[in-house]
Structure formats: C-alpha cells, structure tokens
C-alpha cells in the first residue's frame, strides 16, 4: 500500500474502509418531515397559499378593536368618579355617558362584524375540509374583546349581552380546539353556528358594519 502520496486518491483498500465509516442508514424521511412541519406550524409559518394572510389582516383588525375596547373600559370606569357636586348643567357631566354609549356601540358593532366574518370563514373552511391552523388563535383574540365588551359598564342592553354571552361560548369552543378531537368538536361548533348564531350576528350587524357602525348603527 502506498502511504506517502498525499495528493493522490486513497488506495482502494483504504477507500473501502473509509466508506464504512459512519455509513448512513435509510433516512427517517417521514419522521423528520413530521417534526419539521410541526415546528414550522408552531412558529406560525403559513402552510398553504395566501389563505392565512386573511387571518393576519384579521388579527390586526381585532387588535384595533381590542384597543378600542380598552379605551371604552377606561372611559366607562372614569364616569362614576365625576364629582357629584357638579351642577346638572355641566356639559362634561351630561355628555360623558352619551359619548361612552356611542363608543361602546361603535366598538361592539366592529367586534360583532368581525366575529360574524370570522365564523363564516371558519364554517367555509370546515366545509371544504381545510384545517385552519390560526382559527384558535383568532378565536382567542376575539374572545378577549368579547369579554371586555361584556364586562363594560356600558353593556346595558340585555339582548346584546345575551348575544355576546352566546358568542363567547362559540369562541371558547374554537379557541380550545385540539387536533386530536378536532373533527367531532368542529362538527358540534358548526352545528351550533347553523342553529342561529350566524343569523343573530348578521341581524345585529348591518351590512357594511365597519362604516355604518361608526355612524351609530347597531
């Protein structure tokens, strides 16, 4: 065997021995792909086409409504600490509750409009057999806004409160969807949607809610 020609290829005997060094087995392709896909999904990587982008737009919209909700909460909490000694003719004392009520109506209309569109989209996704990875996350965001609106002192309309409470139940179900029990849970949720929730939401939210709600149309 030649052992001193370092620029020349290895001798066949050594080359054979080197080929046996850490000889790779068949790659566990599916196992590795499952892990890669799960980690990509967990990190929020979009999986198919442009569809998830709609949910990103949604998330931004929901965040905006959430901010409005927080503002309402602050406004409505501030109202009771207005000194009772102010004269009845004081414009601040008389206008504040009305402004609160208007802000509340605007925020609620926005929220219900978004919830209605989200649930419609969710139902359509289920019907087409697609798995919405971001549905639970979006439901959680809507749920946060829903709870803010329910807890607001400006929530005085009993019919609206009932609608928000029922909507909360649906959003909780979607937010808690687990992949293992997904199909059965999804069927129950969509049954619930078909049994009136979407109709009630559509009745509460006039067409073009985004624009009309700002005009106080709820």
């Amino acid at each position: 065997m030649m052992l001193d020609k370092d620029d020349e290829p290895l001798e066949p005997e050594l080359r054979d021995a080197a080929n046996a060094y850490h000889r790779p087995p068949e790659p566990p392709r599916e196992q590795m792909w499952a892990e890669i896909a799960a980690r990509r999904a967990a990190s929020g990587t979009p999986r198919v086409g442009a569809r998830p982008r709609r949910f990103l737009i949604w998330a931004a919209g929901i965040a905006a409504v959430l901010a409005i909700g927080v503002a309402i909460g602050r406004l409505t909490i501030r109202a009771p600490i207005v000194p009772p000694t102010l004269p009845a003719s004081n414009p601040i004392a008389t206008n504040a509750p009305r402004e609160d009520a208007t802000a509340y109506r605007v925020a609620t209309a926005e929220h219900l409009g978004q919830a209605e569109a989200f649930l419609t989209l969710f139902k359509a996704s289920v019907r087409q057999g697609r798995q919405e990875q971001l549905a639970s996350a979006t439901a959680r965001q809507l749920l946060a806004t829903n709870r803010l609106l329910l807890d607001s002192p400006a929530a005085v309309d009993p019919k609206l409160k009932l609608l928000l409470q029922d909507l909360e139940l649906v959003l909780v179900q979607i937010a808690q969807l687990e992949p293992a029990h997904r199909s059965e849970d999804v069927r129950l949720i969509t049954n619930g949607l078909e049994n009136g929730m979407l109709v009630r939401l559509r009745a509460a939210v006039p067409a073009g809610a985004g624009a009309t709600s700002r005009q106080g149309a709820l």
Binding site: L3, N19, P24, P27
Partner: protein
Amino acid sequence: MDDRLLIARVQAGDATAARELYDAHVDRVYRMVYRIAGDPDQAKDYTQEAFIRVFERLGHFRGDSSLGTWICAVALSVALNGLRKVRRLRTREVGLDGAVELGATPREAEPDLKIRLARAIDDLPEGYRSVFLMQDVEGYTHEEIGQMLGVQPGTSKAQLSRARAKLRQRLADFAKG
C-alpha cells in the same frame, strides 16, 4: 423544477412546494450529516434543524451556488456547531471523571483496518475531517466543499492532502504489517 420557482412557491406558503424541496434534498443532507455525526439521533436532529433554518432563510439564498449546495452548507453548519457543543459537554464530563483514559488504543484490540481508520478519522482536526469525509467519502468537489465551508477550493485541497497524510501516518504500521 426551477429552483427559483420552487423557492418562490415555498415563500408564498405553499406546503406542497416545501415538501418538494425537502424530498429533493433530504437524502443528501441526511447522508452528509450522518457521516459527520455518526449517530442516528444526532443526524435526525441536525437534519431537521437544518431544514427548519433553510425554510426560515430561503429569502437569503442569492444563487451564488446551487440550491443543493446552499442547503448542504446550512446543514453542515448546524451539524458542526452541534457536534462542538456535544464535544464540549463530553470533555467536561471526562474532566469530572478524571480517570477516563482517552486514546488508549492497544494494537491488539483493533486488528481491523476499518476500526483503525475510524479512530484515525475521529482524531482528525475538524476541518480536515470534514473535507476528507465530503471529498474522499461522499464525493463532493473542492468547489462545492469550498462553498459549503466558506473557504477557497485551494484550502479544501490542502486540507484534504493533510488529512490523507495524517491518516496514512496513523495507519503506517498497519500497512507494513
């Protein structure tokens, strides 16, 4: 399919395209990583990590090399960094034990050329070992190795030459015997 088109589809969120990219390159990546790591669990982990990084950084691929070479470069970086961490951990453990004798290799315990060569390859400096495995074992060109390791092809050639010299030196008595 054209790499650019495939990359564009993956970046647009097309899961089928991501799988196509994975299928096209996983065997080569796993093979190379396994040669470097020599352990099925580590090879699996490094391959997975490499593809996750590839998908994250696909936008950084400039086309200076082929997509396959770029993916292998990412995988090689993941594997070598991972092995360095493992090595540091093992060194600490050995240091704590104190009594473990490294490199005690009596000749009669390893009569087989494959075992002798495997030990000699394990003992090569990291750069020599990587180049030797990629060129002499896996058959990559010096240009490809240079692109993967971020060195000139001439450096790759020089390292291969030194790796062979060290291996031949370690196996000299075997050759004579």
